[in-house]
């Protein structure tokens, strides 16, 4: 493991509430990613970061925002959760200059 933790690991929330997921890494990797995993869709990129305060959108960014105020933490926020955001969310990191991505254990989010 590349020293990646995600919190919480499981969360149930109601439609319309804000939710923040946290990814923490101890490897000093430059790049961090948030993906969602859904049956039939594989892994889809939500947002990624290429440095502190530097972020960009992925292919399914609507309804999500991110922040990275320090190298080790990357936060994913659902401003107003919807049932379509029920999913398993994975954080990943990548050392700058290399291609390998290291994935965290995932957060299962259920929006009721």
């Amino acid at each position: 493991d590349a020293g990646i933790t995600q919190s919480p690991r499981h969360k149930v929330t109601e439609t319309g509430t804000p939710v923040t997921l946290r990814c923490h890494q101890t490897e000093n990797h430059r790049y961090m990613y948030w993906y969602r995993q859904d049956p039939g869709h594989g892994l889809r990129l939500i947002h990624y970061s290429y440095g502190v305060k530097d972020t960009d959108k992925g292919e399914v960014s609507d309804g999500y925002s991110v922040s990275r105020s320090k190298t080790e933490d990357f936060l994913l926020t659902l401003e107003s959760a919807t049932s379509s955001q029920t999913s398993v969310y994975f954080c990943a990191t990548r050392l700058g200059g290399g291609h390998e991505q290291y994935f965290g254990p995932g957060t299962r989010l259920t929006v009721t």
Binding site: G40, G42, A92, G106
Partner: protein, 114 residues
């Protein structure tokens, strides 16, 4: 639109068989093609990867075959074992300005029967 198309969705083989998982892409800017293995309840982990300047890469019982002209690549698992039962994802990463993004296939659930 799925940038990387993966098939089959699921696969069942006997122990010792050679499952083959296929992926296809259209974007010629892709220059790195990894395969990830995921066990239930865990995050994906890199299994093996290839660049388009070679047609085949082997690591232990896992082999990637790459056909640049057809824009296809596949994963072969030799002498498959029950412990190989997992979900496998192919992916692609472009060179250049968008080189930070990775595009994943939809996954193949492999079951190896003892």
């Amino acid at each position: 639109q799925q940038q990387v198309k993966q098939s089959p969705q699921s696969l069942i083989v006997q122990k010792g068989g050679i499952p083959i998982i296929n992926c296809a892409y259209e974007n010629t800017a892709f220059d790195y093609f990894p395969w990830y293995q995921q066990f239930p309840g865990k995050g994906p982990a890199l299994l093996i990867a290839i660049r388009p300047d070679v047609s085949e890469k082997k690591e232990g019982r896992f082999t990637i075959s790459f056909n640049k002209s057809a824009k296809q690549f596949s994963l072969h698992i030799m002498d498959s074992q029950p412990g190989d039962s997992a979900t496998y994802f192919c992916a692609a990463n472009p060179a250049g300005g968008t080189g930070n993004q990775f595009y994943f296939g939809t996954g193949t659930s492999l079951t190896v029967i003892p």
